[in-house]
């Protein structure tokens, strides 16, 4: 038997494009706006969410038959908060530098709508393995958008990628700056993340007409 059935593969691949959590479900927008001014931060956030959502979906799925439905949201919140704190503490003890980079994201991970959304919509009603795949798939779909947005915002806003200048030096006027190019400081502000996400949604829907909702 193959490791992944056709249905399993669909669980991973769907959220990457046609059922993307950000561009289609419009979840997790808050963190997408907050931390995409730099490519580096986008990547860190994508990896963190991948970890938390993969593991959280597994835990919730394991507990799905004993969670009382009246307090299921609180249970989900406790699970994700506990996971994030455990990771944070372990990193603080054994990878202090990394933990400092992540400190900013801890709060944003706990409140990420995608995590609660997947717990609620998938892990509560599906088996452990499928929930794990669903978590990985959705986190990857989220991560891809974050990295695309981060790429354009850092490139156009600061002229760097991962902190390395790629368009020349804006102060000494070398490279592209010597012919009058200027960094667009507006790209660093949150509204531009929304506009970049909007452009991605536009491109995606114009290529796949099936995604356009009827009014």
């Amino acid at each position: 038997m193959a490791l992944l059935t056709k249905k399993d593969t669909k669980l991973i691949l769907d959220p990457l494009a046609d059922n993307n959590p950000i561009t289609i479900q419009v979840l997790g927008i808050c963190s997408a706006l907050a931390i995409t001014a730099e490519l580096n931060a986008s990547i860190v956030m994508a990896v963190s969410v991948l970890f938390v959502l993969g593991l959280g979906n597994v835990v919730i799925s394991l507990m799905r038959n004993i969670i009382p439905s009246k307090i299921r949201i609180i249970v989900q919140l406790v699970v994700v908060a506990a996971l994030v704190i455990i990771v944070d503490q372990v990193l603080k003890a054994f990878a202090y530098e990394l933990s400092k980079t992540l400190a900013v994201f801890v709060g944003l991970i706990i409140t990420n709508c995608i995590i609660m959304g997947r717990f609620e919509a998938f892990a509560l009603g599906n088996g452990v393995w499928r929930s794990f795949l669903d978590g990985i798939g959705n986190a990857a779909g989220y991560g891809i958008i974050l990295i695309i947005v981060g790429f354009f915002r850092e490139l156009l806003g600061s002229g760097t990628l991962l902190g390395i200048p790629v368009l020349g030096n804006p102060i000494d006027k070398t490279g592209l700056y010597s012919i009058g190019y200027e960094n667009n400081g507006f790209m660093l502000l949150s509204p531009m993340a929304l506009i970049v996400v909007g452009i991605l949604i536009w491109i995606q829907r114009s290529r796949n007409k099936a995604l356009i909702e009827e009014n």
Partner: protein, 248 residues
């Protein structure tokens, strides 16, 4: 047992709190020694960084003395650790462990704080390093500033708890911290601080005696926080530096 009954719900919630609580409590106590040690090393690294003892290689890097050497380097470069309490100045080898936030809170209550100063020697130069603590946009910001007797900045280190990555978080980037080098805190003999100013027409900070450095785009509130932090905490040491100058 009925999963939807109130009793089950309460029992479940209680059990969950106990389980999660014990896991977190166990983890916190098991790791606390290691975490404390990391924090101690970090403070030493930051103090040394402010006085220019670091592993910076190229233009953009912010690299500390590695943790396995930091204690040794700290004791060799930092010659004295002083605690200023009102008019009393005492030596204290643990001064770097003073929690500056708590001391600043004492001022609000009208009490006398214990203020640490670290005196470093490097290449025949003397560095007086003072801690800073303030508030950014989201949470705390802090740092260390190395000054000479005339309160001219020799180096700074800034850090933050949760400023926005790519915007306010850039206060710990080299291009921002290096701007402070050579700036003066005093204007004549008056305390002026250093203002993080927008549009001061001096992006590479050539003018050193204007008590201003260029602000970061998109990080107005964090920048104001840095100005405020310098104005509030470094000011507390004004008398100490004055007494240093009077001694000659």
């Amino acid at each position: 047992m009925n999963k939807e009954s109130n009793i089950y719900t309460v029992l479940f919630a209680g059990a969950m709190v106990i389980v999660v609580g014990s896991i977190l409590a166990y983890l916190a106590s098991a790791l606390s020694a290691k975490i404390k040690e990391n924090e101690r090393f970090e403070k030493q690294q930051n103090i040394l960084y402010a006085m220019g003892v670091n592993q910076n290689e190229d233009e953009g890097s912010v690299d500390f003395v590695p943790t396995d050497r930091v204690e040794q380097e700290f004791s060799s470069f930092i010659t004295e650790q002083l605690v200023i309490e009102g008019d009393k100045i005492t030596q204290n080898d643990q001064a770097y462990l003073i929690n500056i936030k708590k001391e600043l809170d004492l001022i609000k209550d009208g009490k006398t704080p214990k203020l640490p100063v670290f005196i470093g020697e490097k290449d025949g130069e003397t560095f007086y390093i003072v801690p800073m603590y303030g508030k950014g946009l989201w949470d705390a910001i802090w740092g260390f500033m190395a000054l000479d007797k005339n309160m001219t900045v020799q180096g700074v280190y800034f850090d933050h708890k949760a400023e926005t990555p790519g915007l306010g978080a850039n206060i710990k980037q080299r291009y921002f911290m290096d701007d402070f080098k050579g700036e003066t805190i005093l204007n004549g003999s008056q305390y002026a601080g250093i203002k993080v100013a927008k549009g001061n027409n001096d992006p590479v900070n050539n003018i050193k005696d204007d008590n201003e450095v260029d602000a970061l785009a998109g990080a107005t509130i964090t920048g104001n926080g840095v100005s405020e932090m310098i104005s509030k905490t470094v000011r507390l040491y004004k008398d100490y530096f004055e007494s240093l100058r009077n001694k000659g």
